[in-house]
């Protein structure tokens, strides 16, 4: 009983010991925060990667792909059995994306991916990354009549708005076409007088732009409802963007029709300014040109015009600024991947989704056995991002070791302070022994004291760590407000908030480690106290 009482009294009267508690507290809090943030990042990254990639990817080594995806899918189904929950074929080729921004042609190197719009969303989280609510339910490569999200649907709280997406879709396309028509008209009407004055075409460049806007608004106000094709018909004749579909052999009306729809990554079409608002270079409704190689040897470059119908935003900038999705049949047709005689198409890869609870590596190995490795490359999503995932895990392990050393340093602080307290309390130890306290009892006081300090420090650290973790975004905002520096730049990470995951298993290990170190550090002082000779202890001043 005296042990408890004395532990408690020492704790209450020895403020110096509380100093060592503070170091334990800070160490534990830091570990909890760092682990939570790292786990949050890691989890976010893994879900992102896994959301983009299907469970298992079945690819050919060749850019031309393999023939007959249907047969392959049946074979995969036979090899995998019930574990195969879904499959979709894809064609992926490197390509160049070209689009015009204020008269300048912008070219981006992209991965052009042909997907099956009906099944692709079933094997990965693809559908969830689109910007139109209807497309999220079921992707359509037809341009929508407005209704794109102006608020990021994946952010938990209303993040920065995307006002540019307000009118995207058909209304934007019609306005754009109308504006171009009016601009062309104005330019042509000024062409005649400009024969006298050369500067005329350049001079009114900024002025008409404003007046054109007002004219466009007037036109749109008049025809806010679906545009009347009859009134637009003459205008389309002068449309500079008109393109001729070779197979149709007729002039298309860009205000009424669209080219083949594509879904580019949002990183290709926009950038985030430093207030966190997304600025768009192109919008759904704009037309872009894509150049890509045909199948066969040697590959030839072919180009076609496409209409942007939505944006893909996986929040992994690597993918968001690289992927462009297109209907697989169109891509197969344009690349010449459909056998003209039999009509059997070829594909590059088959994305496989496994039923929940299937062992990823086991199923991959099973499929690898069933198909020759010379022909097919079969890998799980983890294999695809293996080095990245490994690096993150390694980073976490090293950080944990380093941070644990902080607590170990706190342990040495406890050791030093306890030695001091034992020396200070030598006479009391003698008194206790003269009253019949055993050596183990005296050691127990200091071990218990260490345990108390450890628990107190770890408890306070837990509270502090959780408080910081749960409010980390508020703290970040505050730090940014104080320093005026961006601590966490959403344009780099593509999430608005610092993600955190509090893992109670990790926390219990941290707490156990901290308490263990505190108790461990008090072992030596406790032994010293236990070994004190009572007579000498009593004589001690």
């Amino acid at each position: 009983m005296y042990k408890l009482l004395l532990c408690w009294r020492y704790l209450r009267t020895r403020w110096i010991a509380l100093a060592s508690v503070v170091s334990v507290t800070l160490g534990v809090a830091t570990m909890i925060v760092v682990n939570a943030v790292m786990a949050g990042f890691s989890h976010e990254m893994q879900t992102r990667i896994h959301g983009i990639l299907s469970d298992i990817v079945f690819e050919s080594h060749s850019l031309s792909g393999f023939q007959d995806p249907k047969w392959h899918m049946e074979e995969i189904k036979r090899a995998g059995g019930a574990a195969i929950a879904g499959m979709t074929p894809t064609v992926a080729v490197p390509a160049m994306l070209n689009f015009q921004v204020r008269g300048q042609w912008v070219t981006r190197q992209v991965m052009f991916i042909g997907i099956d719009e009906s099944t692709h969303a079933h094997v990965s989280d693809f559908g969830g990354y689109l910007q139109h609510p209807e497309n999220r339910k079921q992707l359509s490569f037809n341009l929508r009549e407005g209704g794109y999200d102006t608020v990021d649907s994946q952010a938990d709280s209303p993040g920065p708005t995307r006002p540019a997406l307000e009118g995207a879709g058909w209304p934007y396309r019609r306005m754009r076409v109308e504006r171009e028509r009016l601009w062309r008209q104005r330019l042509e009407s000024q062409q005649a007088p400009s024969a006298v004055n050369d500067e005329a075409p350049q001079n009114p460049q900024s002025q008409p732009a404003r007046s054109v806007n007002t004219q466009v608004e007037a036109v749109l106000a008049a025809a806010d409802a679906p545009a009347d094709p009859a009134t637009d018909a003459p205008a389309s004749k002068q449309d500079p963007f008109r393109a001729v579909r070779p197979e149709e052999g007729r002039v298309m009306d860009p205000a009424q029709e669209q080219f083949t729809g594509i879904v580019p990554g949002i990183g290709l079409a926009s950038f985030r300014d430093n207030t966190g608002v997304d600025r768009f270079l192109i919008l759904p409704g704009d037309d872009v040109k894509v150049t890509f190689p045909t199948a066969g040897t040697p590959p030839k470059a072919v180009s076609d015009t496409f209409t942007v119908v939505d944006f893909y935003e996986s929040k992994m900038s690597e993918y968001d600024s690289n992927f462009v999705f297109v209907p697989i049949q169109e891509l197969q047709r344009m690349r010449g991947m459909i056998d003209p005689q039999t009509g059997i198409p070829s594909v590059n890869s088959i994305q496989i989704k496994l039923s929940p609870g299937t062992d990823l590596a086991l199923m991959r190995d099973q499929l690898r056995k069933a198909f020759p490795a010379e022909m097919y490359l079969i890998s799980s999503w983890r294999d695809k991002q293996g080095p990245l995932l490994m690096a993150v895990e390694m980073e976490m392990a090293v950080l944990n070791i380093l941070l644990f050393l902080i607590i170990a340093v706190a342990g040495f602080g406890i050791l030093a302070i306890f030695f001091m307290i034992v020396v200070e309390k030598t006479r009391d130890i003698g008194i206790l022994k003269s009253l019949g306290a055993s050596s183990s009892g005296v050691a127990g006081i200091f071990l218990g004291y260490g345990l108390f300090l450890g628990l107190l420090g770890a408890g306070a650290g837990l509270a502090l760590g959780l408080a910081i973790t749960w409010n980390i975004n508020t703290i970040r905002a505050f730090v940014e407000w104080c320093t005026g520096q961006r601590v966490f730049d959403p344009s780099i990470y593509y999430f608005f908030k610092i993600p955190t995951i509090v893992n109670f298993y990790t926390i219990s290990w941290i707490i156990a480690g901290a308490v263990g170190i505190a108790v461990g550090a008090s072992v030596l002082p406790a032994l010293r106290a236990a070994r004190l000779h009572p007579v000498e202890a009593l004589r001690h001043d």
Binding site: S434, G436, A437
Partner: protein, 262 residues
């Protein structure tokens, strides 16, 4: 002789008891076994390179309800003798008996137990625990004795006993004062109350008045005499002051590590 004593150390307790009984028989006394006795007690301290012989074979008896004063000059070994009797230290040779049972060679936890239950000690500089108040200091031996659960059960009883003791010594109003808020005399009375709370068989007092002014010292001495007279408590009092020693039934004078006069 040292070797013989060392051999004795190894003998089982039963033989010790027989031996103690025999010794009494040899004296031819029909009187009961002395409460506390030491035989041929030797104690050396190593200081620097040399060996300091503090006790060189001390024999000494304390009868039941006896009051013995041990006097001697500084360094005569009287405190060492008291520590050996109180089991705070181990003799180099010789034996200590409590009611005829040899106690100096018991295992450590037995000696701890005896110190806690059968021996009460009072020191010159009080030796109260500064973190505890007067009442808690008095309760300390009982807290040492009981585990948490037993303490919970006996708390009320223990507290009332401690309170009664403190009230008896005139400290009823100072129960919750810390040692530093008490005067020397009061601290020593708390220390005496602490020594008595476990109802020991013998009280060992090491210069209990040494740090006190005359009046307080006299009060403490009166208290100790009263405990001996009225409660029949056996007391060993160590002092260098022969005036104080005269209050005892018997005086033992230590000089050069020997008992000079009984």
């Amino acid at each position: 002789m040292t070797r013989a004593a060392m051999n004795d150390d190894k003998q089982p307790a039963r033989a010790d008891r027989e031996q103690a009984g025999r010794e009494c028989d040899e004296h031819g006394n029909a009187a009961p076994i002395p409460l506390l006795s030491v035989r041929k007690l030797r104690k050396n301290y190593r200081s620097g390179g040399g060996l300091l012989e503090v006790l060189r074979g001390v024999d000494f008896d304390l009868d039941q309800s006896g009051f013995v004063a041990i006097v001697g000059q500084s360094g005569s070994g009287k405190s060492t003798l008291l520590h050996l009797m109180g089991l705070l230290d181990e003799p180099d040779s010789g034996e200590v008996y409590l009611s005829g049972t040899r106690i100096d060679n018991l295992p450590a936890h037995h000696r701890d137990r005896l110190r806690n239950t059968d021996i009460g000690m009072v020191f010159q500089s009080y030796h109260l625990l500064p973190e505890l108040n007067a009442l808690e200091n008095v309760l300390a031996p009982l807290m040492v004795r009981y585990g948490v659960f037993e303490w919970m059960r006996r708390k009320t009883e223990a507290r009332s006993r401690a309170r009664t003791l403190l009230e008896r010594f005139g400290l009823g109003a100072r129960l919750h004062h810390k040692p530093r808020q008490l005067s020397g005399g009061e601290m020593q009375r708390v220390a005496i109350a602490r020594a008595l709370v476990s109802q020991p068989r013998v009280l060992l007092a090491d210069e209990p008045t040494g740090n006190l002014d005359e009046a307080s010292g006299a009060e403490i001495l009166d208290t100790i005499c009263e405990l001996n007279r009225e409660d029949g408590l056996s007391i060993v009092l160590v002092t260098h002051d022969s005036a104080i020693a005269r209050r005892a039934d018997r005086i033992v004078r230590l000089a050069a590590g020997h008992v000079e006069k009984v």
